[in-house]
Amino acid sequence: MLGEGIAKGLVETARNFFGSYVNKDRLTTVQYPEQRLPQIEATRDFPFLVYDGDDWQAGMRCVACQICEKECPPKCIFIEKSKDKKADAVGKPQFYPAVFNIDVSVCMSCQICVEVCPFEAIKMDTEYELSTDDRFCGLLWEKERLSKPNEHYRRIHPTDAAVSDALLAEEKAKVEAKAKAANETKTNPTVSNTTPADSGVPSA
């Protein structure tokens, strides 16, 4: 009959209206800024540089290899290599970036820089409330602004941080083992020069 559908519709909307006061599940609005949506672990916003320990300059993992600069699709990373070297995360003396700028207004959060970094030095942060009123340099972040401790990384991405830490520990162990072996050959010249890794090769 004419009007039946309208009547049913009116009942439905009335139920929605009164239900929204009674049943809090109906209102899915998140009242920003008093409330925020919880973020998943794999959230990514903009990159940051990881440093180990307390000194952000001494503990920075980045060795200025410039791979991320070359791979970045919108070319928002700018790196200038230093002239001297310092010890990196695994202990080897490496160059470090004298200038490391990311233009966050250009960055598209594609995570390619993170994927190609061989040194676990650059990772994705989860901060999104980044508005600034400085329209020239407010979104051009420099080395100091970008550096954050490893504890921060562990806090925001626990699973990935565990993997990253394991990788670095393994690298470090290898480097230390190599250094130890090199040390032993220096003090004991009679020991053969072959490294333990070569013992698997069939001798000619």
Binding site: M1, L2, G9, N16, F17, S20, Y21, L27, T28, T29
Partner: protein
């Protein structure tokens, strides 16, 4: 005591006027009443914009505006400031004078409609003998204003929107007026004050409102549906279709003129609901005889509020009607219903009081509704296409 509260505003008006020179007193008392009407209905407009947004929000399972003021109720102030500070753009191809006059005319016409509505006992601005006729005449001026808006924009989409709006409004004027004619017949008077006074009696507890008669019931629904179409409100808001032709006839308006259009539309909605209340719902009379101690103006505004809530509810529920669906509805359903209602009202008047007249008139309403409804919905079935000349 009850009487003093009821006549409070009348006595206040007389008291203020008595402090002015005798020659000016009629003018001063009218000006006071005009100022009161302007103030009250502008405030009601502000309140309605928030109520609508919050009501629609809750219907759609979200909060409405809730930042400005307690629960968002000061939102109209923010909206007002926004519309006042926006740049007033007039398109190069627009007819400047008409572009300026259209919203002004709309608001003027909308405010003039309130002159004949009795807002309470002895609280009508002008007691015209042909009040209802005056009302319909002035509401046609609103249609002219809408057409002026569409024409002067120099934009073919606005023009289309305006033409559709005018076509819609003209087609729905017919059932609107026919539904009112039944009331005029029953009350034997065109005066709004007279019509309300005819409905102000009680048999026992129940009131004499025309709504509680079969023809009044049908007439009220015809009137309110036509009123929704007259004020271009959902589901009849195709001319201003927000998601289609942007804003239809007021696309080219910005800032204050847009706010004036909004104001004019909402005021038209209030005025026509006010007329509906006057004609069918007994104006300022209380629904039960034991509630007459509550002042008359309270009842008028309570009924107006119920009407506004109904408008918002319907807006949140129904999808927009297409132009042809709209026109079909007006001419093929509403008009025959209105004509049958006229006959019904006459039959009611001439039959003696009793069960017979209820059964006969009620049956006539029900039968005509079902038959006409079936006739209307049958046209919706899609048939297999036959290409006559291809066979």
């Amino acid at each position: 005591m009850g009487d003093t509260v009821d006549q409070f505003f009348v006595t206040l008006q007389q008291w203020i006027a008595s402090h002015t020179p005798v020659g000016l007193q009629p003018v001063i008392s009218t000006v006071l009443a005009v100022i009161a009407i302007l103030g009250v209905f502008a405030l009601l407009f502000a309140m309605t914009t928030v109520l609508e947004r919050k009501g629609l929000g809750r219907i759609q399972n979200r909060y409405g505006p809730n930042r400005v003021g307690p629960w968002g109720f000061l939102q109209p102030i923010a909206d007002g400031i926004k519309s006042l500070t926006k740049e007033d753009l007039v398109p190069r191809g627009a007819d400047k004078t008409v572009h300026l006059l259209a919203p002004i005319l709309l608001v003027l016409a909308a405010f003039t409609l309130f002159a004949v509505l009795p807002l309470g006992r002895n609280m009508v601005l002008v007691n015209l003998d042909a009040g209802v006729l005056f009302f319909f005449a002035v509401s046609s001026v609103m249609e002219v204003a809408i057409f002026m808006a569409g024409w002067s924009s120099g934009n073919k989409y606005s023009m289309l929107g305006a033409m559709r709006a005018v076509a819609q409004m003209i087609s729905y004027e017919v059932p609107l007026i026919l539904a009112s004619v039944t009331v005029i017949m029953a009350a034997s008077s065109l005066s709004t004050v007279g019509i309300v006074e005819r409905q102000a009696g009680y048999t026992g507890v129940l009131p004499h409102w025309f709504l509680f008669t079969p023809w009044g019931f049908a007439g009220f629904f015809l009137f309110m549906v036509s009123a929704t179409a007259e004020s271009n409100r959902s589901p009849f808001d195709l001319p201003e279709g927000e998601s289609e032709i942007i804003a239809g006839y007021f696309t080219e308006y910005s800032g204050f003129k847009f706010a004036l259009f909004f104001l004019g539309e909402y005021l038209g909605m209030f005025a026509i609901s006010g007329l509906g209340i006057t004609l069918f719902l007994g104006g300022w009379s209380a629904p039960f005889s034991f509630l007459t101690w509550i002042p008359s103006y309270f009842w008028f505004f309570a009924k107006l509020l119920v009407m506004i809530v109904m408008f918002i509810w319907i807006r949140g529920t129904l999808p927009r009607l297409r132009m042809d669906q709209l026109m079909n509805f007006a001419w093929k359903f509403m008009l025959p219903m209105a004509l049958i209602n006229l006959v019904n009202a006459g039959v009611w008047h001439f039959l003696p009081h009793g069960v017979l007249r209820w059964l006969l008139c009620g049956g006539l309403v029900a039968v005509s509704y079902v038959v006409l409804g079936r006739g209307l919905t049958q046209g919706w079935k899609l048939e297999k296409r036959i290409y006559r000349f291809a066979e």
